[in-house]
Amino acid sequence: MSVRVGTPMLPVYTLGPKSVVWWGMIGLIAIEIVVFSGLIAMYFWLRLVNPSWPPEGIDTKGLLIPTINTLVLIASAVAMVVAKRAIVRGNQRVLKLGQMVAIALGMVFLVLKYIEYSGYGYDWTTHAYGSITWTITGFHTAHVISVVTKGLVVLTMALRGMFRPDRHLAFEVSTLYWVFVVVIWIPLYFTMYISPRL
């Protein structure tokens, strides 16, 4: 086997499954899916061992704010995906706009979450029901806070024009994680708000 003339250069900057950073993010997401699955399993286990769920004396959660909030969160993921597709086409304006909208929607989610939870007359010490719902919510909210914070960093990079159609790994993995945080909320929403009504 002789060395061919004009062998193409291997790229040093890669995106998607060719990049180790992308795989690292997939690894983190896999870990977190297991954690959230465990929390959901714990929720249903506690429901099974309790005669009434939610227990007597604890108000059933209202559906209005959380449902709106779920839609807000889904919209933020859509904004991220739109921004990601924009940068692939080289559209810097939509990239910046999409990231800003996603951050704003993430913040709206956090505010609505605060309003919702400050309206409940129970906390994690009241009953195992409170323990598991506050823990799931707290854990997921921490994720939203972290993606919003990370979004601000990525936005700074976007504003400084650091992303290019062929160079936006940071934005790509950031979008991946953002979409994960949103998608994982949907089963949590059904677990905590819909399943007790079924």
């Binding site: 291997l10 465990g38 506690l46 009953h127 409170g130 650091m162 940071a170």
Partner: protein, 655 residues
Amino acid sequence: MTQHDEAQQVHHHYGPQHSTPREGPPDPELLERTWRPLPGIVGFFTVVNYSTVGMRFIVTGFIFLLLGGVQALIMRTQLAQPNLDVVSAELFQQLFSTHGVTMMFFFAVPMFEGLAMYLVPLMIGARDMAMPRLGALGYWLYLIAGITLFVGFILGVGPDAGWFAHAPLSSETTFTPKLGMDIWVTAIGLLEISALLAAVEIIVTIFKCKAPGMSMARMPIFVWAALVMSFMMLFAMPAVLLATVAVGLDRMVGTHFFNAAMGGDPTLYQHVFWFFGHPEVYIIFTPALGVVSAALVTFARRPMVAYSIVALSFVAMGILSFGVWVHHFFAIGIPPIGLSFFAAASMMVSIPSGIQLAAFIGTVWTGRVVLNTSFLFLIGFVVIFVMGGVTGVMLAAVPFNWQVHDSYFVVAHLHYVLIGGALFPLFAGLFYWFPKFTGKLLNERLGRWQFGIMFVGFNVTFFVQHILGLQGMARRIHTYDADLGWGTFNLISTIGSYVLAFGILLFVVNFVWSLRSGRDAGIDPWKAPTLEWSVPSPPPQYTFVEPPVIRSLYPLWDPGESPSGVETAADRGVALRPQIREDYRETFGTSIMDGEPESRINLRDNSIWPVLASLAIGIAFVGAMFSLWFFPIGAVLFFLTMLGWHWPFSKEVAS
């Protein structure tokens, strides 16, 4: 920032996107400069190279083995005769809890992580792990966790609810008022994060950094084992993280996950913990089997019998081990359908191990065996592990299980499985790879004595514990009355434990002596088949002068050749090899299945941020024992260290 500056910054991080391939032969001196750690104390904290980090895991793990061993000796001394009072009942509680935590979490798991970290890049022909800084972060977290555990133990507040810390004993401060269980939560929590980081790092490295031509079907069995171990950690460790966090929340902020009076459920803890706990056994055992496979092939001087079936049985074992966790608490009242399912699954999980053992025996049978110390430990492994496996099948039978639950029969079983299945293979591996790690051969004569003494000591210690268990001696008791008639067997067991400890002491002596005045090993003292034996001992920081390409399963026995007229991934690797730069830390990026060269991976170099990030996480976890405010403080510090870690961000800019 001008275009020129941006181009400079890109250059700084990646090298020019379109550099020219190297002309002429490789330049080891340039590689040496590129891969050199920083000098002095700064270098100590900033080094990220796989061989240094992997060796730190191995050495630290070995120190924890010695510490846990000393604890075991103290316990055996206390139990040597009826009604002794060598240590108080309270200290005894902390001893067996810390012993279990140390051996399971701080010795076995990090030790095999370290072996995998050290050996995987060598075996797959990469210059480093895919994410070197992540490995360094994992090590520092492990160190902080271990120090926390032992500082607590020395201050008299070691964990005191057993290594698996069943709730509500562990979760209610009225039952365990001391700081010990908070330390358990902190230490295990930090260790889990460390293990998860290592798992992701090993998986990504095996997926993306194999040498050109190394398809999945050409990976050494040890690499398969490391891959399965890492996937198991990925799916099992989050469960124990949940269990520890829930215990921590119950203790520190007043939740009621495991408090039956407030709607919680103690059995929930057992399910969440043991969903991790059983795979944990296989997380330890799988890489140990990988070590066995590697040494066995070399010393039987023939390829592994049924390579692909053995590789697949690792995968099967990994999956099945997630279906058996309930057999750890058959005694709490499980519905019959559950009992049947988990009993059947527990028996089924012995099938892949049986396949592997059959393949091992077949390999030895048809090979030309080199009977050295390493091989003796392999024999020891087979004998002891089969004994442990037989008692394991006995324990999977529910009626028998109920009779011996929480007795010394279980203690004997788990030590047969873990010492037979992990410690003996580990010594086989240490004798096998010590020459590669250090450039010196371990002393064979001392090694044979060590094996003989350990084998006898182990069996004397633990075989009689089967009988003690059948006679009704419960595990974890502090002492017992003379008229129970357990004194003789306990004395035998204690004597055996001192013999076993003497065997391990011999290894320490051998280690120190051989390091100073052992025979030079050279590159390949065993005439072994895998890539790690093609580089100097110890391997240079850049590992391979010329990135290797792979055309067969055992490249050093059979270089293999490409079918005529067909250009394979290995051929393309040869053509692309001069592109891998020597003035930057670069290695081949290849496709997962076929090892097809895809990219040059630019590896991150020395950095202070891993140690700082580990301190931020440490502040959050250790501080949370005293005030929950440390958690947000740690989170903010961690965010800042992450900014530093990725700084400067200009690498995204196109030149």
